[in-house]
Subunit: 333 residues, 2 copies
Amino acid sequence: MAGVTLRDVALTVGVSAKTVSNVVNGTGWVSDEVRDRVKEAIRELGYRPNFAARQLRHGRTGLLALAVPDLREPYFAELAASFVGTAQKRGRTVLINQTGADRDIERALIEGEGLPSIDALVLSPLALTAEDLGARRSRTPLVLLGEQAAVLLDESIVHLGMPNVTASRAAVEHLIAQGRRRIAAIGIQNSGPNASSSLRALGYREALAGAGIAVDPALLREVVHFSRAEGTRSVEEMLGARVEVDALFCFNDSLAFGALHALAVNGIRVPEDVAVVGFDDIDEGRYTVPTLTTVGPGPEVIADHVFDLIDRLEEQPIGRHVLPHELVIRESA
Amino acid sequence: MAGVTLRDVALTVGVSAKTVSNVVNGTGWVSDEVRDRVKEAIRELGYRPNFAARQLRHGRTGLLALAVPDLREPYFAELAASFVGTAQKRGRTVLINQTGADRDIERALIEGEGLPSIDALVLSPLALTAEDLGARRSRTPLVLLGEQAAVLLDESIVHLGMPNVTASRAAVEHLIAQGRRRIAAIGIQNSGPNASSSLRALGYREALAGAGIAVDPALLREVVHFSRAEGTRSVEEMLGARVEVDALFCFNDSLAFGALHALAVNGIRVPEDVAVVGFDDIDEGRYTVPTLTTVGPGPEVIADHVFDLIDRLEEQPIGRHVLPHELVIRESA
DNA sequence: CAGGGCGATGTCAACGCTGACGGACTCGGG
DNA sequence: CCCGAGTCCGTCAGCGTTGACATCGCCCTG
């Protein structure tokens, strides 16, 4: 489609294709005069190097695939935004897929089915099993995000875990340090022991235990999704049941946004009456009223770290990595 | 990286590379027996076709680039989600870029700089000028979304416009039909006459004029961004100024969500006291309380239509296309 | 039994680019 | 005047794949 090739440029200038290639890539020796004429011709003809040919010649593509369950969820939208932004800064391109939490799709992705040749796949798995990973044939480097796949079987897999337990504990300890004692945990799910929900609940329990506070089942609120609507519903239910509360630890920021909404509608002041802490540090927390206190690492940090890993892929980084957590204190707690 | 090539498979089976190619692509004639042996070997060796080589051979990549200002904005996140979903259904792959509303980045993108070879670029431009488009060298098909680039100079450009005026008019007429007379327009901006904001304001005025209702400047609310926070702020300001209102037409759904929040906090019932209509038909409107009445076309429809255009790119579709609008009636109005 | 048609597979070249290598030419020192 | 080192540029081949075309054996028809 592009039409103009190295050869075309070479012909109009009257040199060999290789010389033009040298000019384009800054390799070899080219006299200033020839270089200028070549550059001129390139501009003139509108020559653009052909990616496919380049790639075919020497393995790399500069392409990186990111696969998340659903871009509609704010957390994944932000994650994707951070990836794309970081990639653009680093001269790479991100190609995005949605798994819809479908195991077959996740399985197809780790095999690279339907994908162009990429340098690495970054996957936030939800349904993938250890067997699937074990059965993997593709040798494309794979970076797994999150807890769902804590099992590593293939030597080409890198796992980047979130500091779920420690971050959650830090968040709840922050609430306790402010004198809060009736702290609700919003986001309980009936999932496996390695699921994010379970790990965050564990951090919550550890913090309470550390302060000698008993866990009140009435303060453990189950949700179906980590969504705004569920956050609202949870709080409405607690209020309806007249549960005494002075703080909320929400298992992600969307839940927290929903909770803030419910509190505002019911005339409950934040943080005076009830303090609120979220989890994930997504951007929108800067713009809510009040602004949201939350724990990270945020998407930017994750993206940055993943790119670091990918850049050093030939060397070491196989195995499990866990990012440090950080507490982002804003107005809500 | 993949290592295994057609030739490898061919050698182990004892046929020619071309035959393997025929099996893979379902082209030509291959006996069932050979086909089975080849398939077996493919599975055995873990052969994966090389995208770069395929592409080099015959122009297509199956890659499609989508460039939006910022994935963090819910509307663009949904648009991207719809694109990715539709692409997956249609056997294509989407690669995403963010422009950050930066003219240099938009300019670089329409030239394909830094991008791999793609079949088409879909761009939602904010800063691009007519000159930029005129100066474009790349011949990659380009689909422009939205109003910012109503000027077409290059014959390889397809413009997909939103039905801003007609959809807005329909939204406001819907409010008027319910007997609403004090209808605020939330989302006024001081931008050019072709900007979305101006066109939506025009639809609003047309609807009022059609019903013989005068425009009250107190009901025209300016915003900086089309964001949730600004929607909240606008409504708080109106309430603070004791402006009489019985309906809100918000220029996008995010503004509407913010408005719903402000109304709820202030104990104003929706739709009994104030009706609310948004614009864009993003998914979240299904989950708010109350659910949001809005006008489309929604992201899904847009994505679908863009893919149709791209599939028929060789033929006709150069020029301006405008999607039909649709009114999505839910609880809020 | 010649000739045509069809099924099944192979040969060849080219897509655009770039490493490895090989001239040719200049210049300065021995 | 010869030779090595340094410049500048070209030739060649091949990355993996697939269209165009050739080949070969077979059955069918007249």
